[in-house]
Amino acid sequence: MTEKVITCINCPMGCRMTVQMEGKEILKITGNTCKRGETYARQECTEPMRMVTAVVPVEGSRMPVSVKTRTPIPKARIQACMKALSGVRLTLPIHEKDVVLPDVCGTGVDVIATRTLMA
């Protein structure tokens, strides 16, 4: 059996929850004050997800373009996503919501621009 300690992010309480696990199976969650904490702990222990935001350089523009994953991706893939983005080169113009990198690292999630940069 393993134990994981997780800080809840749903409210400023920041409950420190202990999750007892057997392999991938969750046996018990303690320390949460409300139901939202339990749901969060379950997600964090099975498949934690994160949005990734970054900037990508654009040829001919001083300012790089800011980008994000359209939806959260598995936390374990953050570094791979950043690495993939570091190889991306863009040209003007770029519009908000343009796909900058489709299906990043096989996550099925596109990386999209979050601002418009005109020539």
């Binding site: 350089p57 950043m82 690495k83 570091s86």
Partner: protein, 482 residues
């Protein structure tokens, strides 16, 4: 081969360079640092002392009084902010009264005018923020304040427009006389000159000894300061000293020419003249002592702290004059070195011209005209300035209201800024309450453009102080390798 090599580009070296630029001679000024006024000249109290403090008959007394006389018109000529705000030396006990009396007598002997010992009521009437514990004070109406580094920049610029060359990051390791000239070994190679002038501040004793003078020794005395943001109303108009001790003039509370409040300095003897760190104890002692003068002091408005190192020669007086054949100096220039600087230039000019038989140039160009800072212009002047140069309409530093036009001009000055700190001291961009938080990225961009260097090569100060380590792509690539 140069005719004259001046070692040190502080306020003294710059003053000497300007004085000698009237003559037919090729002049080179070298400095180990990356800009003018990087040593004691940039980090001191900025006081033009009246001259009551020095022992009568010493060079300190003579040059201080003469220098102070020269300041008002010289600053006018050079466009340097200067104000005769007057000073008070406060006594907090009857015992201190005798010290004040001694200073008064000294001042009279040195030729300082308008000195007066005043009592508590008058002190509080003139400066209501003063501690009610005060007993009496020496009132010194002729004391002034100046921006010390701006003084040095202006002197250097004036020298440069008259042909003086400045080389920075050039550290003189040794000097020796070779038949008919001086040879200086530097980190940038050998420099030859017929005449050598030592204005090397903290290193001036070392150079003095190599030039063949009687052994001199310098003690490096560090002073720590606080700067407070400019308040709507200054707490004190006068420079407020406390009764001096043998380590120095004590902790002062003073307005600066730019309307900030200065507290300090401490006096600590240290080994390394480049050790300009501040310490928790030092800063604490500044506040503690400043509160004696100003009980209402709050550090909430502190915007920065800094320290400077002054070069105290153990014999106690300035060393100004001829050291050996074709070798001259202005060494041991601790306080009142800033006050004396113009007079030191004048004195060395006179000696060197006499000894070396220099001839005046047919034409000596006037100091370059600096437009009034945008921050001090009237609306009409601002409108005209923007019409003439639209970059006056671009405010880069919000706290001190400095425009892009002024920042570019500072970089293009005869001895121009090459770093963020250089821009800051020449324009005040980044001197304000946010300490460059907003403007430094823009200043970095402008420096890169003006100097034709990549953003990553722009420095805060000297080599090794680059502000940016690379582009984000480079950082990622490096990590991938590692």
């Amino acid at each position: 081969m140069f005719d004259i090599l001046i070692v040190g580009a502080g306020v003294v070296g710059s003053s000497v360079a300007r004085a000698l630029s009237r003559y037919q001679a090729s002049i080179l000024v070298v400095d180990a640092a990356c800009d003018v006024a990087e040593g004691s000249s940039k980090a001191n109290s900025g006081i033009v002392h009246a001259g009551y403090d020095a022992v009568p008959g010493t060079l300190k007394a003579k040059l201080n009084v003469r220098g102070a006389e020269m300041y008002p018109s010289l600053c006018e000529e050079l466009g340097v902010p200067y104000r005769r705000n007057g000073a008070m030396i406060l006594a907090f006990s009857e015992d201190d009264r005798s010290t004040l009396k001694k200073l008064y007598d000294q001042g009279i002997k040195n030729g300082v005018k308008e000195l007066r010992i005043i009592e508590k009521e008058e002190i509080l009437a003139l400066e209501p923020q003063t501690s009610p514990e005060v007993v009496c004070a020496l009132l010194v109406p002729t004391s002034g304040i100046v921006s010390p580094y701006e003084m040095a920049f202006a002197l250097a610029d004036h020298a440069a427009v008259n042909g003086v060359e400045f080389r920075f990051q050039t550290k003189v390791d040794s000097v020796r006389w070779e038949k008919d000239h001086w040879e200086a070994e530097t980190n940038q190679g050998k420099i030859q000159a017929r005449i050598l002038v030592n204005c090397a501040g903290a290193s001036s004793a070392d150079l003095h000894n190599q030039m063949g003078g009687e052994k001199a020794e310098i003690i490096h005395r560090r002073g720590q300061y606080y700067i407070l943001d400019h308040p709507d109303v200054l707490p004190f108009d006068h420079t407020m000293f406390q009764c001096p001790t043998k380590m120095g003039k004590g902790i002062l509370v003073a307005p600066t020419v730019h309307g900030n409040v200065l507290l300090g300095p401490t006096a600590e003897d240290i080994q390394d003249p480049l050790d300009v760190a501040t310490t928790a104890e030092g800063l604490e002692s500044v506040l503690k002592a400043a509160r004696l003068t100003w009980p209402g002091l709050s550090v909430r408005t502190a915007i920065t702290n800094f320290s400077g190192v002054r070069a105290h020669e153990i014999h106690g007086d300035f060393m100004v004059g001829k050291v050996a054949g074709h070798a001259y100096e202005a060494a041991g220039m601790e306080s009142p070195g800033l006050s004396a600087a113009p007079a030191v230039g004048e004195m060395l000019e006179e000696i060197i011209v006499r000894e070396e038989g220099l001839e005046k140039k047919a034409q000596w160009l006037p100091a370059p005209v600096h437009p009034r800072p945008f921050n001090e212009m009237t609306d009409q002047e601002r409108q005209a300035a923007i019409e003439a140069d639209p970059l006056y309409g671009k405010i880069i530093c919000r706290c001190e209201v400095v425009t892009e036009a002024e920042i570019r001009a500072a970089i293009r000055r005869p001895v121009g800024a090459t770093s963020v700190d250089g821009v800051k001291r020449r324009t005040r961009a980044g001197m304000g309450r946010c300490q460059g938080g907003f403007c430094s990225p823009r200043v970095v961009e402008i420096l890169a453009e003006e100097l034709h260097i990549p953003m990553t090569s722009v420095r805060k100060g000297g080599p090794g102080s680059e502000l940016l380590v690379g582009t984000i792509q480079e950082a990622m690539a490096k990590e991938a390798e590692a």
